[in-house]
Amino acid sequence: MENMVNVFLFGKRYEVPASLTIMKAMEYAGYQLVRGCGCRNGFCGACATIYRVKGDRELKVCLACQTQVEDNMYVATLPFFPLIKQVYDMDAIKPEQAVMMQLYPEIYSCIGCNACTKSCTQGLNVMQYIAYAQRGDFAKCAEESFDCVMCGVCSSRCPAGISHPQVAMLARRLNGKYLAPKCDHLAQRVKEIKNGDFNELLENLMGKPIEEIKELYNHREIEK
């Protein structure tokens, strides 16, 4: 017999196998999910969820697809949270501190409560990456926030109304576009291709009889 636990979905009790994730427990209980379920594997941030285990004062947050049920768990999903997403033209903005001031000035109202970090479903140091953004250190903000799945839980906890995932998104794009070292071999190759330098090689290969291509493939040298 499977080990069963009680979970309370939106306050209503269901008995479900203890091995299930919250997401699968909801389905076991009979929910056909539409919202709050995207990748089912911890990448898309669709399944932000709040829970409290009976007797515990702490309100916890998690990704429903990544978290196993516990006995007496009270669960409420948060499938949408109204983040502020500013609109900008990446070609027009510059990787300067002033950008944040213009687009996301609320980050300067951070009171340092660290509720964002405590709530992060990915275990990121959210308050720290916001601090980097405040200073205009986009490379550090990008690095620190890289694993963000933009579930929005941090923002739901923020007394200053900061949309942390969107701030980090901007920092990463600024870093990727302007600050990361330029790649010479890539630029070179794009130029060579535009110039038609590889056409002959490719056409030669494509023009060969299939048996010959097979030979070439089966005996091609493989880089160590």
């Binding site: 929910y31 999910l33 539409v34 995207g38 997403k85 794009r173 890539l186 493939y217 040298e221 880089e223």
Partner: protein, 532 residues
């Protein structure tokens, strides 16, 4: 976390780790691979796993039975349900599917000046693209060339790719990487800007570019940000359920359904781009899947009913390394990058039974053989698996490698108390990718005029098997091309009367062929509710 039986086996893995790490198993010969695939790969089964289509452009050809049922299913729209003369949306280019291909297409069509709209079934980015971990290929290093990339992909796909499509893929690859970089995608680079590239299964050069093991997420969230930044309208939680044509037989819009309220809407368009992705959630042959929740082959169903031909719809990719344990993540992807950076496949007795970087189909078949006829698998609650020896990675490349190069994997197993730096993990093949799909010409158009296709919904770019890193590449290359071409074509399209008569005609064809079914399609979502 591991059972005592598993722990016993781990001891054997540990005992031989050093020796295994020091030897490179021989790669199989072409003949060995061929025999292995025939005997063990799910695509090569010749029983009730497949059906022959009774109607439509691919009549007589075999497809997985689950797909066959949907292709020959009943429409969700009855005549009279919608008023085609009073469209709710009227745009130049309608893009169906908000994954990487759809987003790339939207950006380029918008750049070309077209009035664009994206409709997507879940949220934008709730898509297979978001989940890609390993990376994206492009021949941009001095020791590499588009021709070398072509050879790898052509051979890996069993010489079945459409040459003109594959040529476009490899030739436009470096530019695709540059385009993404310019949008702000953060690729792994050395301090001097050199791309950090690795091998993938079946590559002859190290040309796999990555953004840690969040490659797809990094690409997808950046593309999404750009789509929103451009002010392109995105209608989410809205599925396309039928292509609308004009009276001249050209694609001219789609019937949409609000996923929550079930309200039906009409979108009129001059050209349509299908970017609906794959089919993992159809669970062919009972396999678990690595795919997102909405991967149900809807695009194939819509296009087929509208008269577009499919290509290689019988070939699927079973990724060799799906998680086999713990059961909470059963079927979830363990990226190939784990093997790229040094982990080997090890059986119950601690033997490295194959080269870790054979092509995916060969690797999957080899694992299935190990676990079935050879009886060298490790039993799990959900089935059986073999080891992927992750501690070997740091043995070869030094401490810290795992956290730096594959943090998502470390996190995924860490949540269940498995530290992949110290313990190996159990894997088994999982349904991963739809190799086949809608047949297109070099301009991305399907057999139906003005119906463009991009991304995983396309068949023929990769042939009968796809190499890791060539799919993220194809969604960018062909997504962009589809966007540009659909925008250009839209300029010359004259409005004509809209119709769903092809849906009626298809129904008649089914009747004439004696196909009777209760199946309604497209499926839109899987149903995982417990049915008592």
């Amino acid at each position: 976390m591991y059972t005592s039986e598993m722990l016993e086996s781990i001891k054997k893995v540990e005992a031989r780790r050093k020796e295994n790490a020091a030897t490179e198993p021989r790669r199989m010969t072409a003949e060995e691979k061929d025999a292995l695939l025939r005997a063990y790969h799910p695509d090569y089964k010749e029983g009730a796993e497949f059906v022959n289509l009774a109607v439509g452009p691919n009549k007589g050809e075999k497809v997985p039975k689950e797909l066959g049922a949907l292709l020959q299913g009943n429409s969700r729209v009855q005549p009279g349900d919608v008023d085609l003369n009073a469209p709710d949306y009227d745009v130049d280019v309608l893009i169906i599917g908000g994954g990487g291909a759809g987003a790339s297409a939207a950006i380029e069509a918008d750049k070309a000046g077209a009035k664009v709209m994206v409709v997507t079934k879940l949220r934008m980015g709730d898509a297979n693209t978001m989940m890609a971990e390993g990376g994206i290929q492009a021949a941009d290093k001095p020791n590499d060339s588009p021709a070398q990339h072509y050879l790898d992909a052509f051979g890996g796909g069993h010489f079945a790719a459409k040459p003109e499509l594959l040529r476009t893929l490899v030739t436009e690859a470096p530019e695709a990487i540059q385009w993404l970089s310019d949008l702000g995608v953060e690729f792994d680079k050395a301090a001097d800007g050199t791309m950090i590239t690795t091998h993938g299964g079946g590559t002859s050069r190290k040309r796999m570019h990555a953004a840690k093991d969040y490659s797809g997420a990094e690409i997808m969230r950046t593309l999404r940000d750009e789509v929103l930044g451009r002010g392109i309208p995105v209608v989410d939680f809205t599925a396309a359920i039928e292509i609308i044509k004009d009276e001249n037989g050209r694609a001219a819009g789609a019937v949409l359904m609000n996923m929550e309220t079930k309200e039906l809407l009409v979108a009129k368009a001059k050209t349509v781009i299908l970017a609906t992705g794959g089919a993992g959630r159809l669970h062919y042959q009972g396999f678990p899947t690595s795919n997102h929740y909405g991967a149900t082959a809807d695009g194939l169903v819509l296009a087929y009913r509208a008269g577009a031909k499919l290509l290689y719809a019988d070939t699927l990719q079973y990724h060799p390394t799906g998680a086999a344990f713990p059961e909470q993540i059963f079927g979830a992807l363990v990226t190939e990058k784990v093997r790229s950076v040094g982990a080997m496949l090890i059986n119950r007795d601690g033997e490295a039974f194959m080269h870790p970087l054979e092509t995916r189909d060969v690797s999957a078949a080899s694992i299935i053989r190990e676990c079935s006829t050879r009886g060298k698998g490790v039993p799990t609650p959900g089935g059986v698996g073999v080891w992927l020896d992750t501690p070997m990675i740091e043995m070869k490349n030094g401490a810290g490698t795992i956290e730096k190069r594959i943090p998502a994997m470390m996190r995924m197993f860490g949540k269940y108390g498995i530290d992949i730096r110290k313990e190996p993990i159990l894997i088994y093949p999982t349904l991963h990718y739809q190799n086949g799909g809608i047949d297109i010409t070099a301009d991305c158009q399907s057999g139906v005029e003005n119906l463009y296709v991009a991304g995983e919904a396309v068949g023929g770019i990769h042939g009968r098997n796809r190499l890791m890193g060539n799919s993220l590449l194809d969604i960018i290359v062909f997504g962009r091309n589809a966007g540009r071409n659909a925008a250009a074509k839209a300029q010359g399209v004259k409005a004509a009367k809209l119709t769903l008569s092809h849906v009626e005609a298809f129904k008649e064809e089914l009747k004439a062929a004696g196909v009777e079914t209760d199946t309604v399609s497209p499926q839109l979502l899987p149903d995982y509710r417990r049915h008592k």
